[in-house]
Symmetry: C2
């Protein structure tokens, strides 16, 4: 049985930061192929203003398509109540809110303070409760995740105090959000910090702390994932091909790379539920869908070790 | 004070596997610049037949030069007694023997079985003792390291039984070699395996177990270094720019990358003694010395995080 839960965020975090656009049909084929490889959760898009991020303009269509894939949990990023309402209308299984621990990043990114963003999450939790009551009780809206962004440092602010991260995670948990993620949005984290902050936040909010959202900007993506695993994290966001990159760091990949993450855990004897060969098939559809975009991944280039047997 | 000891192996492992040759003068300038950045140990070459590996033909000259650099420990790889005698003649501070745990790799690489290689190491230890006796006692030959190669898997043999690795490490320690390294020669290792095998070997030979020699072929170099650190390893081999690569895996770097290794430990608050900015100056000399060769490294491309302070 799988012990690691991977949420593939390439169609959102990857494509949102890519230099080129992937056509809607190519996105659909790619998403379907990743689900076929055993990825059970995919962040397929972002309900942000299309004028701001053209790559996400087809998110409603992509969510609708993804909902037809059996067993797939379909996630959309939403930055505010308006985005949440669009996700509700489409029937996404889960939404994720990015809430920056860095005040500077929060203001630059969503023109709200972290505290205002917490209120935005709270309103969405309430909206979902009202909807549930109207439909005869029961919690039938999407799962709500709040991700603490820039939790390990910020390109604008530099150091982000750990107390700020813990406080924000607690505030978000208290809104009634179902789960909290910690995100190394800009690839500043190190393994010691990962262990320290995840442990501190877990002490405060327990198992509401769920995913590690890691970037590979300084090459520490897998080391940080390992550190998070060692302090009990079992949910990881990652992006096929390390898609998206960093516009300020040519050659540095974006999110931690799904293929290498799967290889690391499988080789450790920790099953991910993902079939590596089928993942390579999905990678071909990624390349076909956005051929000009640089993609990364060591294991795809080097191949599996001779005699390698996956744990799954 | 530094807590991590880095042995830079780029001039040997990197250049030996590079597609292009670096001129002798460029090697010298590069080695001097790395020493100036705070690298205290450099494997500068290999006493192998020049006909087999032209990139190492100037090793005697490079060792002689490197010995003029203050405080630098100068290491040369030697595959047999003949190589050891050449290293002796030059006055290298330390030699390192690669001894494959994989029988198939050993035969292919040095046309000897692992057991024959152990005898080769033993003869060199004896040679050094005789030399010491002749010079009025005292151990005035080079330090002798024996590295268990393919300790985590082999491209020819596939899986290498852990018992074989432990047994070989014990045999090598019993020759009187000063220190033992474990090498992931082909980039097959995973963090769980690293912890398991280093712990088993340490249990047998104690602090004679010294360095982790890791490759980054499947992107796990830093995660494996972290795992080794967590079970007490403090000596790491690494290569600037991940030089050397893997001829079978274009885009996959060679050894674990010095720059990223330094960044990982420094960011964790574990001092390496290396000045990152000066390391970047040395990297320029690497590029200048072998401009056609692909080199790697995330931190060099992305830069240090805003507000980053090294622990050193």
């Amino acid at each position: 049985m799988r012990q690691i839960h991977i949420c593939e965020v390439g169609p959102r975090d990857g494509l949102q930061n890519a230099q080129h656009l992937m056509p809607t049909e190519a996105k659909q084929a790619w998403i379907a192929s990743m689900a076929a490889a055993g990825i059970e959760e995919i962040e397929v898009g972002s309900f942000v203003p299309p004028k701001l991020i053209p790559a996400m303009a087809d998110t409603a269509e992509i969510v609708t398509f993804a909902l037809t894939i059996p067993k797939l949990k379909v996630v959309a990023l939403v930055p505010n109540v308006k985005g949440f309402e669009r996700a509700l209308a489409c029937g996404a299984h889960k939404v994720t809110f990015p809430v920056s621990a860095s005040r500077a990043h929060s203001l630059a990114n969503v023109r709200m303070t972290p505290e205002q963003m917490v209120e935005e999450v709270r309103r969405c939790v309430e909206l979902r409760a009202q909807l549930g009551a109207k439909n005869g009780g029961g919690n039938n809206g999407p799962q709500i995740e709040a991700g603490v962004a820039t939790a390990f440092g910020c390109t604008l602010q530099g150091v982000v105090p750990e107390d700020d991260v813990v406080r924000l995670a607690v505030m978000l948990a208290e809104t009634g959000a179902d789960c909290i993620a910690l995100a190394d949005t800009v690839g500043y984290a190190n393994p010691a910090q990962i262990k320290r902050i995840f442990s501190r936040v877990r002490k405060e909010i327990g198992d509401k702390l769920e995913a590690a959202h890691l970037h590979n900007t300084r090459g520490l993506g897998l080391a940080n994932a390992l550190a998070a695993y060692e302090v009990g994290v079992r949910h990881f966001d990652s992006s096929m091909g390390g898609l998206g990159g960093c516009p300020f760091a040519p050659g540095a990949s974006g999110n931690v790379i799904t293929e290498d993450l799967v290889f690391m855990f499988e080789s450790m004897g920790v099953p991910t539920g993902v079939d590596f060969d089928k993942l390579m098939e999905a990678r071909k559809l990624l390349v076909a869908g956005i051929p000009q975009e640089p993609i990364y991944g060591h294991t795809p280039m080097a191949g599996l070790p001779k005699g390698f047997r996956a744990a799954a």
